[in-house]
Symmetry: C2
Subunit: 421 residues, 2 copies
């Protein structure tokens, strides 16, 4: 008889940190930049360990991202996990949206507004806080455009860990309140997200923050892996196969690349048949450094000063921009950017055809999908997954034009006068 603790999935398949720029390898730990070339580090895996994970292992796991622990760097032992019930969000077949856009193949919405704090950030935070505890940090921190702040503060409250969260002070009120409510320290920064991020990188080097894991700075290699679970879930929910196309929003560009990485790892692990897929990236016109580089055929992402209503995507100097460009170009995909008005219309289009109320980032993604179809740059005969990463309730000011059809007295006469009876 084999004890559960002896099973291969009980040890981490992660083997090292590897530089995405020069390929240098380092031991696993709280390091995020290469000592050789200052390039970003990501988690390297033992392919043989990935290949030992079976569909049955996954399906026997919890109904959360932790069912994929065998493909993540931490959380193999259930007692080490911070499990907030994140993940296994609905994959919704959007036939009415497909019809309206002229798709002949199925279109699916992967709806991450169903996560505990209603964005995909719960995935990366669950993994990052689990890693931070294992790495010995006693406080958790982040730089955020809002959703990450919500998630870090909520997860910290859940497990009783102190938190300190940094956000631009001009964020949407709902995101400010949903962070402050959990009782951690919340610092508004007079500046852009890029200013916030720069400050956090400095703080991570200060003695007073030695005990602090910044989820998207010194814990970033672990953090970023959490986004892979979006890809894992889509493949499992489709019956263990990779869709032919996907469209994802881009802020730092990390999530789009990690979904791509997830699909490749599923093939490596033998969990899905080998196939090809095409990657599409979405930005808002107010902050489109990656999409602009794509359009100009450049490999260099030039920083911009963000504007516009899609605040959760407003990263002017996107760390993973070059890697997002590579994922899209290497698969024959495309990128596009859309205006604030197109974003609002994207939110409404998704809501009225699927019943999903997305935040501005979701509006960006749907509007880009529509634009790519109109421009003939996406194949409407190929099955497509669209990632909605956040919740409309957090960016309600974007759609304040959504009002009652009529306001009437509580009488049949009132109904008749309004033409409703």
């Amino acid at each position: 008889m084999t004890a559960v603790a002896d099973r291969p999935t009980a040890s981490s398949p992660a083997s090292c940190l590897v530089c995405r720029n020069c390929g240098a390898q380092y031991p696993l730990g709280a390091q995020h930049a290469c000592f050789e070339c200052f390039g970003p580090l990501e988690i390297g895996y033992d392919d043989a360990a990935l290949a030992r994970v079976t569909r049955a292992d996954v399906e026997a796991g919890p109904h959360s991202i932790w069912r994929y622990a065998g493909l993540l760097p931490v959380g193999q032992s259930p007692e080490t996990r911070v499990d907030s019930g994140t993940g296994m969000t609905p994959l919704i077949r959007a036939d009415r949206l497909a019809d309206e856009l002229g798709f002949t193949a199925p279109v699916w919405i992967k709806d991450d507004s169903a996560n505990p704090t209603h964005s995909f950030k719960d995935r990366v935070v669950s993994v990052a806080i689990t890693a931070a505890r294992e790495l010995g940090f006693e406080r958790i921190a982040c730089a955020s455009t809002g959703n990450l702040a919500n998630s870090v503060a909520a997860h910290a409250a859940r497990i009783g860990m102190p938190s300190i969260v940094f956000v631009p002070s001009d964020l949407e009120p709902a995101k400010i309140i949903q962070t402050a409510i959990y009782g951690g320290t919340l610092v508004g920064i007079e500046g852009s997200y890029d200013d916030v991020n720069r400050l956090c990188s400095q703080l991570a080097e200060e003695d007073e923050f030695e005990n602090t894991g910044f989820v998207n700075v010194n814990v970033r290699p672990y953090y970023a892996e959490g986004s892979k679970t979006l890809g894992f879930e889509v493949a499992e929910q489709l019956g263990w196969r990779v869709p032919g196309q996907y469209v994802a929003p881009m802020a730092s560009g990390s999530m789009l690349t990690k979904i791509h990485k997830a699909f490749k790892e599923l093939v490596t692990a033998g969990l899905v048949p080998s196939s090809t897929w095409t990657v599409f990236g979405a930005q808002s016109a107010g902050c489109s450094p990656i999409a602009t580089a794509f359009s100009s055929g450049s490999d260099t992402v030039l920083p911009v000063k963000p504007t516009g209503i899609a605040k959760s995507l407003n990263i002017g100097n996107p760390a993973d921009g070059p890697y997002a460009l590579d994922a899209v170009r290497s698969t024959g995909g495309a990128m596009a950017a859309v205006s604030d008005d197109e974003i609002r219309e994207g939110i409404r289009l998704l809501a009225r055809t699927t019943g999903v109320f997305a935040e501005t980032a979701g509006g960006v993604t749907v509007a880009v999908l529509k634009k790519l179809v109109a421009e003939g740059r996406i194949d409407t005969s190929v099955e497509t997954v669209v990632f909605n990463t956040g919740d409309g309730l957090k960016t309600i000011d974007a759609v304040t034009g959504a009002r009652p059809t009529a306001v009437i007295p509580p009488t049949l006469k009132g109904m008749r006068d309004a033409g409703l009876l």
Copy 2:
């Protein structure tokens, strides 16, 4: 070999409509009041059919309320269900809340903010729209304090069914927008929920609304059954047993009584061991007709004019008040009402100890729990489940006092000046 369609769970266990007042029975259909005594009707079941449902049947079902189709009046065939992914929301062990309140037994939060439109109403709407389609209705409608409006409009958009939703025109902006965004007809009524409800009862009798299922009027017996899934899930998530105590908010009083009914049906079906449990009801001081009747020892619930911030509970003339009184009194429980300030403190207490951001109704429930403990009316040595039925993002105005700890320039000096470094 037995075909799936021949299995007992493929036919409805519902056998009739039964008057909760006089016990008269009617055939299943779109009827909600007794012809004999005008009492409210509910679904009657064939106990033998319930007893044929096994734990294995349930566990093999989808990860949604429809895993309990064998215990619901409709949706036995998967293709008839409106499945929005509602249900199987997290049951969160709230050790930090338990400690703070002085519980020695576990306290659990059943968090229905995880449903698609972030309230428990997705449960009743999923069942009601499934029933409405089976009953031949072509349009769906409701009277709502907000959450039901969100859910009806979203479900209608999902399946492409026309909807007409009636709400008090002074609702929270987030609830208005989250209904209007889906593109159905939304009618704001200048009056209270009770005025809205009265108008809908009238409209249900009009020829122009003959094709319209009002989920909480003429489809109400089906609709109300959806709340039972809260009880089913709690029992399954606890390992197939009923907790010793639960605390639920009361608007019409229906949900509290249906959780009680669910536990009784689970015992009848042999799915849980026979046990006793105690029921506690929570209202806001601004609208406490049921709690007031409880305190005065009366069986009669006197209508009130609602005030206060817990708008989703503001039903001044609660249809199920007498049945809620009976469920609480017959189990030896209690009721209490809390002020707006206590509600705000309840929201904060839950958020900082569990990471769950509840709407005002959740604040009511947690504040009542706290009050019942302080008054020695709930046994802190008995395992307790607390129902959070909605999401803090919808009632954000209630906690606008939640602000950043500090707002500073993006510099280390800014951090030092604020005492954060």
